[in-house]
Amino acid sequence: MSDQAIIDAYSDRPWEAPGRHEPVVRLRGIVKRFGGIEAVSGVDLDIYRGEIFCLLGGSGCGKTTLLRMLAGLELPDAGSIEIDGQDVTALPPYERPVNMMFQSYALFPHMSVAANVAFGLKRDGIRGAELESRVAQALAQLELIDFANRRPHQLSGGQRQRVALARAIVKRPKLLLLDEPLGALDKRLRENAQYQLMKLADDTGITMIVVTHDQEEAMVLSTRSAVMDKGQVRQIGTPSELYERPGSRFVAAFLGNITLFDGSVAAIRDGIAELSVDGLDAPLFAAAGSVLAGSRGALAVRPEKVRIGREGEAPESQVNRLGGIVEGLAYLGDITSYRVRTDHGALVEVTRANSENAAKRDLDWDDRVEVWFSPENALLLGAD
C-alpha cells in the first residue's frame, strides 16, 4: 500500500475526495412505494468506512424505510444498493454482511443475554471455544458480563439497549444499522449511551448508519448526516455544515431554531445581499448564497447570532437593527431565550449567555428593546 493510500484510509473526511475513496455503502436511485405512495423517492448516498452517518428527519420522511432496505427487510422498487463493492440489492437479510439494532431492541425473550448474543454467530456455524470467546468479548465490550445468564425481561432499559448493541456487533458486520438506538432511553442515560456508541465505532471501526428524529443526537453522533423529507434527501453534510450553512428553509428550520425574514433581493454587492423585507421600510443585509438579485428569498439568522439591548444600545455601525417589544422570555440556566415582536410584526428569537447577562440589568417582559445582527452572521436562502 502506498503512503498516500494509507493517509487516505485514515483521512477524516473521505467524502471530500470521492475519487480517491471507495464508499462502503453506495445507494443509487432508491425508490420504495407502499400501495402507490412513495416512501422513498430517488435517494443517492455514498457512505465511507468508519463513518457514523445519520439519517435525520421527521416521522414518515422515509428514513426507517431506507434503513430497512439496507438491512434487506424491504426490497426497493427501483435502484441499487452496493455494500463494500458487492451488489446486495436483491439479497435477503440473512445473506447480507449487515446487522441491525432495532428500535424496540427485538431481543429474543426466551433466550438469555448470552444466547441472544451468540444467536448470529451460531448461524454462521461458529461453535465451541471461538463462539464462547467472541460472545464474552462482545459482552465485555458493553459491560454485560454480569448479566450473561439473565433473560431480557430481567434487565433495565439501558442494559437491554446494550444487549441489542452487543448482539448486532458481535458478527463484525461491514455495516451496522441503528434504528433510533437511543430513543427509548431517558435523557441522562442517553448522553452516556451516545459517547459509548462513538467509542464503540472508534474501537471496532464498524461503519454505522443511524436513523434518528433527534437533531441533537445527530449533531453529537454523526460524522455526516442526511436530512430527509418526503422520501428525499434534502442536504448532506457535517453537523456544522448543516447548522451554519443550511441549503434550504427546510433544513434551516429542522436543525435548531432560526428566525426567517421573507422578502425580495434588491441588490447584491461584494457578496452581501440587500433584502427588501415584506412589511419593513429599511432593508436588511445578509451574506448572499446562491440567490440571484431580483428573486424572492429569506434571510435566516440563528438566535445566538442576534444581539439584544435596550433602545439605543445598538452600535451605530449595525445596518441590521429592528425595534420591538419583549413578548416572552425563558431562563434556561446557561442561556436566556427571548422572543421579540418587532415593530413590523415579525417574531425574532434571541438567546444570550447568562454569564453575559450578569453584567447587564435583566430585560423583562414588555420591555422596549432593540435587536441587531451583522450581515456576515445572517444567511440568504432561496424561496422554497
Binding site: F34, G36, E74, L75, A90
Partner: protein, 307 residues
C-alpha cells in the same frame, strides 16, 4: 401497479404470486380443509333438502332421474312454511336464545368489568375461575342443573324439608330452565370477549369524563359502555347463534313439547329418519343466522383492528 416491478417484499406478499409461494402452501392446507369440510357441506345439505325422502340407501331421492331430468323440488320448504309448528319453533328458538343472551349479558358484564379492573394477579385467578367450569364437561354440567332443578331435585328437596313449600315448584321442563341452562353454559363465552375489550380500554378516558363532571355511573354510560360495544356484540353473538340451534339443553331441561329448532332437527333426523326435511330445517336455520353471523364477524374484525 407496484407489484409489476422487481418488488419482492419480505414482510408482505400481495398479488397473484401469493398462492404459488411457500406462504400459499401454509395458507392452502387449512384453507382447503375448511373449504371441503365446512363450506362444501352446506352446499350438500342444500342439495339434499331439494330431494324427497325414500326408503333406500341413502334415504333420499336422486336430484336427477335416470333420463337426466332435474327432479329437485322445494317440497320440503313448502312443508316448513305451511306447518305452523315449524314456524313457531323457529320463532321460539330465536326468542329463547334472545332472552338467554340478555340474561347472560347482565350476569357477564359486571363480572368481566370487575375482572378487567382487578390487579394482574387477581385478574388471572378470576379468569381461571371463569374458564374452569368450561374445561369440565358441558354435558355433565347440564346434567347437574337438571338434578338441581328437578321436582325431586336439590332446590325442591331443601324447600320441602324446611317446610317453605308444600308441593315442588316446577322448574324443569319450563322455559325458565332453558334460560338458566343456556346462560349457565354460555357464560364464559360472554365474559371472555367482554373482558378482552374492557382490558384494553384506556381507563384514563373514564377519569377524564369524571374530571369533566360526570358522576361515575354517567361516565360508565357515556364512555365505558359505548367503547365496549364490540365486545358486547361479539359476546352476544357467541351466545345467541349457537343457542338458537341448541339441542342438548332443550332436550335435557326443556319440556317434551318444547319448540326448539335444534331439537326438532335432531328428532326429524334420528327418530323420523327424514334426512331431506332435516336438511331443509338446517338450511332455513342457517339463513336465519346469516345476519347475526355477519354481525359477529364485523365485531371480531373490529376488535382485531384495535389490537
Amino acid at each position: 401497479m407496484a407489484e409489476a416491478s422487481t418488488s419482492r417484499p419480505v414482510t408482505d406478499a400481495a398479488g397473484k404470486s401469493f398462492w404459488f409461494s411457500g406462504k400459499g402452501l401454509v395458507a392452502g392446507i387449512p384453507y382447503l380443509w375448511l373449504f371441503v369440510f365446512f363450506l362444501v357441506p352446506f352446499a350438500i345439505v342444500f342439495r339434499i333438502s331439494l330431494s324427497e325422502p325414500l326408503i333406500a340407501q341413502p334415504p333420499y331421492s336422486p336430484l336427477f332421474g335416470a333420463d337426466g331430468s332435474y327432479q329437485g323440488s322445494f317440497f320440503n320448504y313448502q312443508l316448513l312454511f305451511e306447518d305452523a309448528l315449524f314456524r313457531a319453533a323457529y320463532l321460539n328458538s330465536l326468542w329463547v336464545a334472545g332472552i338467554s343472551t340478555l340474561v347472560t349479558l347482565l350476569i357477564g358484564y359486571p363480572m368481566a368489568y370487575v375482572i378487567a379492573r382487578a390487579r394482574p394477579l387477581v385478574r388471572n385467578l378470576l379468569l381461571m375461575a371463569v374458564m374452569l367450569p368450561f374445561w369440565s364437561s358441558f354435558l355433565l354440567r347440564v346434567y347437574a342443573l337438571k338434578t338441581i332443578m328437578a321436582d325431586t331435585g336439590l332446590v325442591n328437596g331443601l324447600l320441602l324439608n324446611f317446610g317453605l313449600i308444600d308441593a315442588p315448584i316446577r322448574m324443569l321442563q319450563t322455559d325458565f330452565a332453558l334460560y338458566v341452562g343456556i346462560s349457565y353454559t354460555y357464560l364464559p363465552f360472554m365474559i371472555l370477549p367482554l373482558y378482552a375489550t374492557l382490558e384494553r380500554l384506556d381507563w384514563s378516558l373514564v377519569e377524564a369524563a369524571e374530571d369533566l363532571g360526570c358522576r361515575s355511573w354517567k361516565a360508565f354510560l357515556l364512555v365505558t359502555l359505548p367503547l365496549s360495544v364490540p365486545g358486547i356484540i361479539a359476546g352476544a353473538m357467541l351466545v345467541f347463534i349457537p343457542a338458537t340451534g341448541e339441542f342438548v339443553i332443550p332436550n335435557m331441561l326443556g319440556a317434551s313439547d318444547t319448540l326448539m329448532i335444534g331439537r326438532m332437527l335432531w328428532d326429524t333426523f334420528f327418530s323420523e329418519r327424514d334426512w331431506t326435511l332435516a336438511s331443509s330445517l338446517a338450511v332455513v336455520l342457517l339463513l336465519l343466522l346469516v345476519l347475526p353471523i355477519m354481525l359477529f364477524q364485523i365485531a371480531e374484525s373490529r376488535r382485531e383492528e384495535r389490537v
